[in-house]
């Protein structure tokens, strides 16, 4: 079989990549800061006893703009990749995507409702608007996922096949509802809606960041505890049961982690496609399918990928900014096609 990277080397490599992405993400932008200044300002901000002389501007840019944006990118990437691993494990299919359980389309619907209704009501107080949008997106994602899960359940058993089909149907339903809102929206609202659907890390602020950070932390701590159970689940549901895994509980946890994680990510940054699909797949190619390695490695790879995609989004048409969803899809879709053409390993 193809040689696989030893986990230690993989983690060192991905950890380094993630640090590099973070550093660049803090340094580069409309006002590019020298890399060393970025490092010094960052360490000074972190409370290290360094001289902060001459770094006031750098520290302000870092603290107010770049740091929240970078943290948002890290959390979104990590949580999307982890949710991708969870869904590929749940559906026992390496081509599964977190969107399959309806969380993304539900969040999009929630956001559309918030944007269009908000504007129809003559505009909400401006300080409230972003929170309302995030909250509606998060709740929309949770609601649709809960419905998909509910539809998949019968006699105390959850059928992932039924969940998959219910997810497809509800995604179509939610998309047409979003379409209806789009049709009803006026031009300004339409623009907001469109940009939201393409995703962006722009406008990150600490206030909107902390719910996502908490959820990302929770998911990142919880899922690796279930790595062995996820491995067993890949054998089949009854095989996992015979190995002593409480399969129904595991499925519930996977769906919950995905709904909370992706819901929070989408609520904070809009729809960012292909990360959840491509990252676990890519990591599996180099590290193998063992979830004990796959989960933490995907976390690092997802966080790095989103930061690099955001750098491209910021730099490609500077000073204008591309929606990050476009960048990830541009990177992700050809890669996905390549995987399809190449066939499963």
């Amino acid at each position: 079989m193809r040689p696989m990277l030893a986990p230690r080397i993989l983690f060192i490599g991905l950890g380094g990549l993630c640090l590099l992405a973070t550093w660049l993400s803090l340094a580069l932008g409309p006002v590019s800061l020298p890399l060393l200044d970025t490092l010094r300002a960052g360490l000074h901000l972190a409370g290290l006893p360094l001289s902060g002389q001459g770094l006031e501007q750098a520290e302000m840019i870092l603290g107010q703009i770049r740091l929240p944006r970078t943290l948002l990118g890290l959390a979104v990437g990590a949580v999307l990749a982890l949710a991708g691993v969870a869904m590929q494990g749940l559906f026992r299919n390496p081509l599964a995507d977190p969107g399959l359980v309806g969380v993304s389309s539900g969040a999009a619907l929630g956001a559309a409702v918030a944007i269009v209704c908000g504007s129809a009501l003559g505009g909400l107080p401006s300080f409230l608007e972003p929170y309302l949008l995030s909250a509606c997106a998060f709740l929309g994602g949770l609601a649709v996922t809960a419905l998909v899960y509910r539809l998949g359940r019968k006699d105390g058993q959850t059928s992932v096949a039924v969940m998959l089909l219910a997810g497809v149907a509800l995604t179509a339903l939610a998309s047409s509802a979003v379409g209806l809102f789009t049709y009803l929206a006026d031009d300004a609202t339409l623009r907001t809606l469109t940009f939201w659907n393409l995703g962006s890390l722009n406008g990150a602020s600490y206030q909107r960041l902390w719910p996502l950070l908490l959820i990302a932390l929770g998911v990142a701590l919880w899922l690796p505890r279930r790595a062995q159970a996820l491995n067993a689940l890949l054998l089949g549901e009854s095989e996992a049961r015979h190995l002593g895994i409480e399969v129904e509980r595991l499925k519930r946890e996977l769906v919950l982690c995905t709904a909370l994680g992706v819901g929070a990510a989408v609520a904070a940054a809009g729809l960012i496609g292909f990360v959840g699909l491509v990252v676990p797949h890519l990591v599996r190619q180099v590290a193998g399918p063992d979830h004990r390695v796959l989960l933490p490695a995907s976390l690092l790879a997802g966080a790095s990928l989103v930061l690099f995609a955001d750098l491209i989004a910021r730099m490609a048409l500077a000073p204008a900014e591309l929606p990050i969803g476009i960048v990830t899809a541009f990177l992700g879709a050809p890669f996905f096609l390549y995987l399809l053409v190449r066939g499963r390993p």
């Binding site: 079989m1 390496p94 095989e239 015979h242 190995l243 002593g244 599996r284 193998g288 399918p289 390993p345």
Partner: protein, 255 residues
């Protein structure tokens, strides 16, 4: 070790299995034979709790199966299904290692057991291969090694249920596999194995349960069960039965 009285399984309105009573003893290999659709896999499903019995509780060590916690049960009862669908490129060693999941016996002990189980299933040379690169028969042996590892070494009151473990195997490995199962039972495990080959069953089983249309036709030693009348009645097959020239167990020859 595993016991059921008057088991009945209902699917929809149809009774697919009824009247089965058996007690699986330590150290014995019990073969289950019968034509397609006779209820063999249904019986196995009910015995491992995968299917709910309409009547007749299953007892593992005199305690109802449903009352065991997952890992506790998995340390005493392992099941090899007919087909396994694993679509990910795990190494063979890792697949077998999953059998150690309910134990927490430590990496060193687990590695020893994985080696022993792979050897028993004649799959030691596959250890570092990718599961997806294996043939059907090799995969079947790897899964056998996995369930053997789950109960290794086979003493201490463990029960193993096997659904057609030889269906994809070449003639040599049909024998090596059943010999490994036989050895496992000789160390004290109770084994129930669904088979299609009457001669394999005659050679390796202590008792045979013959199923017909979801009902037990006979449950006794191979010598008593595998008679021309019974085989004709259950399988509709005309056979001669003669003792094996070297081993003495019944040899079933189609006429």
């Amino acid at each position: 070790m595993l016991r059921v009285d008057n088991l009945q399984v209902v699917r929809g309105r149809e009774t697919v299995l009824s009247g089965v009573s058996l007690a699986l003893q330590a150290g014995e290999v019990l073969g289950v034979l019968g034509p397609n659709g006779a209820g063999k896999s249904t019986l196995l499903g009910a015995l491992c709790g995968e299917l709910t019995a309409a009547e007749g509780d299953v007892f593992l060590h005199e305690r109802p199966l449903a009352q065991w916690s997952g890992p506790e049960r998995a340390r005493r009862l392992a099941v090899l299904p007919q087909v396994s669908t694993l679509g990910f490129a795990f190494r063979v060693e890792d697949v077998v290692g999953m059998g150690r999941l309910p134990h927490g016996s430590g990496l060193v002990r687990d590695a020893e057991i994985i080696t022993a189980a792979l050897q028993a299933a004649d799959a030691a040379h596959l250890r570092d291969r990718s599961y997806l690169a294996l043939s059907g028969g090799e995969r079947q042996r790897v899964h056998l090694a996995r369930v053997l590892a789950q109960l290794w070494p086979g003493d201490g009151g463990v029960t193993l249920l096997l659904d057609e473990p030889t269906s994809a195997l070449d003639p040599l490995h049909q024998h090596t596999t059943l010999q490994a199962v036989r050895d496992f039972a000789d160390r004290g495990a109770a084994v129930l194995v669904i088979l299609h080959d009457l001669n394999l069953a005659a050679r390796y089983c202590d008792r045979i349960l013959l199923l017909q249309n979801g009902r037990p036709y006979a449950l006794d030693t191979p010598q008593r069960v595998l008679q021309p009348e019974g085989v004709k009645a259950v399988f509709g097959l005309d056979v001669l039965v003669q003792p094996h020239p070297e081993r003495g167990h019944p040899l079933i020859i189609a006429r």
